[in-house]
């Protein structure tokens, strides 16, 4: 469902040019659970950003469901992100001023979705991650694990085909990390395609396939 061809990403400043990704070729199949590993600064997050259409490659092409996205404008990219992709971030990225329910509703805000069903879907998603009783809480009132579960609920509320998780257990203790991993496995079992960046070998072993990066290059 996701195809990356000859991806190169260069960060340029007036004096320095940094090659973050070099000649990456990847195909993620529907229903796969793939993990990406590598040392810090090797380009894992950059790769995930390009997969999630959050960033553009300097060279190469990204195809989602067989369609190259290079020519897509802001609105079309927004539509793809909204309908096909769900994001889970290491630092959760919840909006502190919004309640748990409001945070989870965010992807649905940008659809033709009325308030009542939107709220129902968000509650449903929160129920799936075991936080149905925290809808009115604010992020600051939650533990790290709970925040990540809210982030997962937000990622899945719009039923995306692809879930991109950037070190979802990185800020959690091992027990909480296991719980998050269980949720991701269950989502994958239900048909979701998941790409997860991780530093944790044990977590990576639980996925179908492992991609290793080193200095921006795919080594396995």
């Amino acid at each position: 469902m996701l195809h990356l061809k000859n991806i190169e990403k260069v960060y340029r400043t007036s004096t320095i040019e940094t090659l973050a990704l070099n000649n990456i070729n990847l195909a993620i199949k529907k229903g796969e659970f793939v993990s990406v590993m590598g040392p810090s600064g090797c380009g894992k997050s950059t790769l995930l950003n390009i997969m999630g259409l959050l960033d553009e490659p300097s060279e190469g092409s990204v195809e989602l469901d067989g369609q190259p996205v290079a020519s897509y404008r802001d609105r079309e990219l927004a539509r793809l992100r909204n309908q096909k992709i769900g994001f889970i971030f290491q630092s959760f990225h919840l909006i502190p001023d919004l309640s748990v329910l409001d945070n989870v509703e965010i992807p649905l805000l940008y659809r033709s979705q009325n308030g009542k069903p939107r709220s129902e879907y968000a509650r449903e998603a929160l129920e799936k991650v075991g936080l149905a009783n925290r809808v009115k809480h604010f992020p600051r009132q939650l533990s790290g694990g709970q925040k990540q579960r809210v982030a997962i609920a937000r990622a899945i509320v719009g039923n995306p085909e692809l879930i991109l998780a950037d070190e979802p257990t990185g800020n959690l203790d091992s027990g909480m990390g296991n719980e998050i991993m269980n949720i991701l496995e269950t989502l994958n079992g239900g048909g979701a395609t998941i790409v997860m960046v991780t530093h944790d070998e044990q977590m990576a072993k639980r996925t179908h396939r492992l991609i290793r990066l080193f200095d921006g290059t795919q080594v396995s």
Partner: protein, 443 residues
């Protein structure tokens, strides 16, 4: 752990996905943006204070100022016909070398000879500008502002008669010693203010007058109509028989429509040009006679400026207001731009989950409009309090400042301008923010 797994499938492929809209539905967008705006306000009390203080202070000053200008210049009691009126309040006489000059209100004779005879106006009334006299009640002195007028004065103005009626041409011709007083004077002069004053006598500067009418007093800021007591011009001390062109009177010309102003001015200019020169006055000879039929504003400004300065006045007032509005707007832009990085993470999150840049621009603009409207509401409240205070404090006698629809609409317009000015610039900066970069900031 995946709670509710048995009852609800964790599959992300349930068929409830509604289509992408690219923007939030209107009420949702408004609710969401206002909700965020409110939270942001609460989260940053200092910014909130600075922002709201700037907006509300500026708007309050603008509203009170416009209200005051409206009070001064717009048609109000008892000059509701001001838009159809021209005034001749001043004549300047100069010698040929322009070394000697004499400037002041016009004389009764001038109005009678050169203004009353004009063909183009509907009516011409006259009144003295300022006059003062004393009256005594139980040994206590009351200072009075007096006016000597003709009968048409009561027709070109629209005083509300609480009792009695105005004097007419016949009363004036017969030299009856009558007076119209204000309700304020009635309260001060007569012991029983509930009893009718008409028919009673009032002594002013040791002359006895019979009260024939009581009017609701005009604010002191309307110098052509404000007074405590009004006399026919034929009673003593009116100086209506004095010779010369300059005196103590002002002509009130009522046009049929404002469109007639040009014709009236042209006719009057023609009449003035035919006044025989030299003009002998106060032992001097003058060859230059400068006077004009002017609108109220022109007439008012001619007291301060030599030339007709309406355009300059409005330009200066407009520029002042623009500058005054620009200050908090620039401050708001500055505050919003500096705050944008703090909200970069939120922007990144919203974009990541499908918000197009245009929707976010809207959100930011709505948020700013909300804040400015909040500032506007505070300003409206403050202005109301200040205007009430001005009206009741007695600083301006009988002031009747109001927040009228025009002033309110102007303020709302200013709010919108503020909201757009302060929202659009940061919104466009925000819209261009790359998502990955925005997400890196941990706001």
């Amino acid at each position: 752990m995946l709670a509710g797994r048995a009852s609800t499938s964790p599959s992300p492929h349930e068929p409830h996905t509604p289509p992408f809209k690219g923007g939030i539905t209107y009420p949702d967008m408004l609710t969401n943006a206002i909700k965020i705006a409110w939270k942001v306000l609460l989260r940053h009390p200092f910014y909130t204070f600075i922002t709201l203080f700037g907006i509300s202070l500026t708007l309050t000053v603008l509203m009170v100022l416009t209200s005051f200008l409206d009070h001064l210049l717009a048609p109000h009691y008892p000059e509701h016909k001001r838009e159809r009126m021209l005034y001749i309040s001043r004549v300047a006489l100069r010698d040929s070398a322009r070394q000697s000059s004499r400037t002041g209100p016009v004389s009764f004779r001038f109005i009678d000879t050169y203004v009353k005879t004009l063909k183009t106006p509907e009516k011409v009334g006259l009144t003295t500008f300022f006059g003062f006299a004393n009256s005594y009640v139980n040994g206590k002195r009351i200072s009075l502002q007096t006016k000597f007028t003709d009968a048409i004065f009561w027709e070109v103005t629209d005083f509300e008669f609480l009792e009695g009626k105005p004097y007419n041409a016949q009363t004036i011709a017969q030299g009856h010693q009558v007076a119209v007083i204000t309700d304020d004077l009635k309260r001060q002069y007569f012991e029983d203010e509930t009893a009718p004053a008409v028919g009673k006598n009032i002594d002013v500067d040791n002359v006895r007058y019979r009260v024939i009418g009581v009017v609701r007093a005009a604010p002191v800021t309307r110098p052509t109509t404000a007074g405590d007591i009004y006399f026919p011009y034929t009673v003593p001390k009116s100086n209506y028989q004095s010779e010369g062109l300059s005196g103590s009177y002002v002509a009130l010309i009522l046009a049929r429509t404002p469109a007639d102003f040009g014709a009236i001015k042209a006719e009057f200019d023609g009449v003035v040009s035919r006044i025989p020169r030299p003009v002998l006055e106060g032992g001097n000879k003058y060859v230059v006679v400068e006077t004009a039929a002017s609108t109220y504003l022109e007439s008012l400004l001619s007291n301060f400026f030599e030339a007709q300065a309406t355009a300059i006045f409005f330009s200066v007032v407009g520029l002042f207001m623009l500058l005054f509005m620009a200050l908090p707007a620039i401050n708001l832009v500055n505050v919003n731009v500096s705050r944008i990085m703090e909200r970069a993470s939120e922007i990144g999150i919203r974009k990541a989950f499908g918000a197009p840049a245009r929707t976010l621009v809207w959100q930011f603009v709505v948020e700013n409009l909300f804040i400015t409207f909040l500032g506007g509401a505070i300003a409206l409240l403050l202005s109301g309090v200040i205007i009430w205070f001005i009206n009741t404090s007695g600083w301006i006698a009988r002031a009747d400042l109001t927040i009228n629809f025009a002033v309110f609409a102007f303020s709302v317009l200013v709010c919108v301008v503020f909201g757009l000015l302060s929202g659009v610039v940061p919104a466009f900066r925000m819209a261009k923010l790359p998502i990955a970069e925005a997400l890196k900031s941990n706001g």
